[in-house]
C-alpha cells in the first residue's frame, strides 16, 4: 500500500513539471489508483471469505454440536464439517459455473466448468475491483454454510451416507439455481430480472432455501425416537454459546463482505448487522422472560442468530434505525416460531433450522422491501422500498420468497425421495438408540476411559 501511495505522490508531483501531461503517465496514474483500490478491496474480501468459512467450522459445528445429546455430538459436527470439503469440491467442479456462468434466467452454464477461465483478472459483471478468484472463493463459503444449516433439522437420526447424497443433490438442484436467480447474470430475481428482489447477502438464497428445506426434512424423516417422552436436553450449552458468538463474528464477513468491496456499503452493512442482532437478542429474551419466567442463555443466542438471519437480505440497504426495528421484530417472530408454532404443528426440527432460518429469512426478505432505502445505498432505485414510497417492492419480496419456498419444498421432497429409495434416510432403531457417533463414525465425543 505504501509503495502504491509513493508511486501516486511521485506521479502527482511530476504533473506540474510538464506542461503537457504525457498520456502514458496518465494511464500509469489510473492504473496505480485502480491497483490501490483493488489491493484494499481484495484484502478485505479475503478476510471476509475466511470469516464466512469460520461460521460453519467452528461456528455452526459448535452451535449445533452443543444442542444435541452427547451420543450425537460428533455426527452433528461432522454434518457441518463435511460440507467444508464436499461443497468446496462441488463448487470448483461445477457449482460456480452453474451459479455465476452466463445462462438462462434460472440457471448458469458450463462456461466455468472446473473453473475454466476463472483467474486473477476481475470479473467486471460481479466485482470489478477484486480478482475473480476472490469472488469465487467468497461465494464458495456461502455454499458451505447453507446446506450445513439444514443439517440441524435431521440431526441425531440421518444416515451419513444418505446425508452426503442429499447435500450433493441439494446444492445442484436448489442452491446453484437459486444463487443464479438472485445474483447471476440475467437471473430472474436480480436487478435486471423479471421480478427484481432485494437480497443483499443471501436472505432468500441461503436462509429461506435452507430453512424451508429443513422443515421438509424434519417432516419427511419423522421425529426422533422418544421425542416428547424422553428428555432431549442440549448436552453442552457452553459449546453452543461459543459457536453462536463465532457465528455472530463470522456474519460480518457474510453481510459486510457482500458489499464485495471495502467501501461505505460494507460499513453500512456491518453496522446494520450489529444493530439488528443486538435488538433481536433483546426481543427474544423479553418475550421468553414474560412467557417462561426466566431469560435463558439458549434464548439469547437463538435470538442473536435470528437477528443475523433477518438482517442478511437487508444489510447494506437499510439504516441502523431500520435495523433496530427489523432485529427486534425478527427476534420476537422467531421465538414464537420455535417455541409455539413447532409445538402446535408437532414436527421435530431438532435444532430449529426452520424456526430460525426459514422464518427469520422470510421475515427479513419481506421487511427488506419495507425498509430498503436509496439514501442508504445509491445502487438501489430512487424509490427503493415501502419507506421510499415503493410499496410494490414488498409484493416483489413476498413473491420472491414464495418462489424460494416452492423451489425448496418441491426440490427437497424430490431429493429426499431419491435418497430414500437409493440409500434409505434414517438409521435403524438400534443405531439411533446407540447414537450416531458410534454407529456412523465409530467414535465417541467424550470418552470416560481415555
Amino acid at each position: 500500500m505504501q509503495r502504491v501511495l509513493g508511486l501516486l505522490i511521485a506521479q502527482l508531483a511530476s504533473i506540474p513539471l510538464f506542461a503537457q501531461t504525457d498520456a502514458s503517465e496518465l494511464e500509469a496514474l489510473k492504473a496505480a489508483v485502480a491497483e490501490a483500490q483493488s489491493a484494499g478491496d481484495n484484502a478485505w474480501m479475503l478476510v471476509c471469505a475466511a470469516l464466512v468459512l469460520a461460521m460453519t467450522g467452528p461456528g455452526l459445528a459448535l452451535f449445533y454440536g452443543g444442542l444435541v445429546r452427547k451420543k450425537n455430538v460428533l455426527s452433528t459436527m461432522m454434518h457441518s464439517f463435511i460440507m467444508m470439503a464436499l461443497a468446496t469440491v462441488l463448487w470448483v467442479v461445477i457449482g460456480y459455473s452453474l451459479a455465476f456462468g452466463e445462462g438462462t434466467a434460472v440457471i448458469g452454464s458450463l462456461q466455468y466448468f472446473m473453473l475454466n477461465g476463472v483467474g486473477t483478472a476481475p470479473n467486471d459483471t460481479y466485482a470489478g475491483t477484486i480478482p475473480e478468484y476472490t469472488f469465487m472463493v467468497f461465494q464458495m463459503m456461502f455454499t458451505i454454510i447453507t446446506p450445513a444449516i439444514i443439517s440441524g433439522a435431521f440431526a441425531e437420526r440421518m444416515k451419513f451416507k444418505a446425508m452426503l447424497l442429499f447435500m450433493t443433490l441439494w446444492l445442484l438442484v436448489i442452491y446453484y439455481p437459486m444463487a443464479h436467480m438472485v445474483w447471476g447474470t440475467g437471473g430472474l430475481l436480480g436487478g435486471a430480472g423479471a421480478l427484481p428482489c432485494f437480497d443483499f447477502a443471501g436472505g432468500t438464497v441461503v436462509h429461506i432455501t435452507s430453512g424451508v428445506s429443513a422443515l421438509v426434512c424434519a417432516i419427511y424423516l419423522g421425529k426422533r425416537l422418544g421425542y416428547g417422552s424422553e428428555p432431549m436436553k442440549p448436552h453442552n450449552l457452553v459449546l453452543s454459546v461459543v459457536g453462536a458468538c463465532l457465528l455472530w463474528v463470522g456474519w460480518f464477513g457474510f453481510n459486510a463482505g457482500s458489499a464485495l468491496s471495502a467501501g461505505a456499503i460494507a460499513s453500512s452493512a456491518f453496522v446494520a448487522t450489529q444493530v439488528a442482532t443486538g435488538a433481536a437478542v433483546i426481543g427474544w429474551l423479553l418475550v421468553e422472560w414474560i412467557q417462561m419466567g426466566k431469560p435463558s442463555m439458549l434464548g439469547a443466542i437463538s435470538g442473536a442468530v435470528a437477528g443475523l438471519v433477518v438482517i442478511t437480505p437487508a444489510a447494506g440497504f437499510v439504516s441502523p434505525q431500520s435495523s433496530l426495528i427489523m432485529g427486534f421484530i425478527g427476534g420476537i417472530v422467531c421465538y414464537f416460531a420455535v417455541v409455539k408454532v413447532k409445538k402446535v404443528l408437532g414436527y421435530d426440527d431438532t435444532l430449529d433450522a426452520f424456526g430460525i432460518h426459514g422464518v427469520g429469512g422470510t421475515v427479513g426478505a419481506v421487511l427488506t422491501g419495507v425498509f430498503a432505502s436509496h439514501s442508504v445505498n445509491e445502487a438501489l432505485p430512487e424509490m427503493a422500498g415501502l419507506l421510499d414510497g415503493n410499496g410494490g417492492q414488498v409484493v416483489n419480496q413476498i413473491l420472491g420468497s414464495l418462489l424460494s419456498w416452492v423451489l425448496a419444498i418441491v426440490g427437497t421432497l424430490v431429493i429426499l425421495k431419491i435418497c430414500d429409495i437409493v440409500i434409505g434416510l434414517r438409521v435403524t432403531r438400534e443405531e439411533e438408540i446407540d447414537g450416531l457417533d458410534l454407529t456412523q463414525h465409530g467414535e465417541e465425543g467424550y470418552s470416560l476411559d481415555a
Binding site: 428428555p231 417462561m292 417455541v339 409455539k340
Partner: protein, 112 residues
C-alpha cells in the same frame, strides 16, 4: 467392621471430608451420583421445551470403619452434612465380612 455409604449434598463434600479428617479418618471413596428421595426436582426449559429434572446431583461417600469407631464417624458425617432441609441425603450401613490390603495381604481391621 462396618461399611458406611452416605448419599449427601454435593456442596457438603469439603465439610464432610474435613470433619472425617478431624477425627482421624483418612480413607474414603467419593463418587458423583444422581438420585432423589423425597426431594422434588426442578424444571428446565430449552426453547420452550420443558424438562423435569428429578434426578439431582449428589455425592456418595463410601468408607469402611472398625466397629469401635462407627458411632463417632456417623455422628461426624451427619453433623457436617446436615442443613435440616429435604435433600440432605441418607446413610446406609452394612456389615463387612473381611478386608484385604492388596499391597501386603493384611486382613480385617489391620487392612483399614
Amino acid at each position: 467392621m462396618k461399611k458406611i455409604e452416605a448419599i449427601l449434598q454435593p456442596f457438603k463434600q469439603e465439610e464432610v471430608k474435613e470433619a472425617l479428617k478431624a477425627i482421624g479418618i483418612t480413607g474414603m471413596t467419593i463418587s458423583e451420583v444422581r438420585g432423589h428421595g423425597r426431594q422434588k426436582g426442578h424444571t428446565e426449559i430449552y426453547r420452550g421445551q420443558e424438562y423435569n429434572v428429578d434426578l439431582l446431583p449428589k455425592i456418595k461417600v463410601e468408607l469402611v470403619v472398625p466397629d469401635s469407631r462407627f458411632d463417632e464417624v456417623v455422628a461426624a458425617i451427619t453433623s457436617a452434612a446436615r442443613t435440616g432441609k429435604i435433600g440432605d441425603g441418607k446413610i446406609f450401613v452394612y456389615d463387612v465380612a473381611d478386608a484385604i490390603r492388596v499391597r501386603n495381604d493384611d486382613r480385617g481391621e489391620e487392612a483399614l
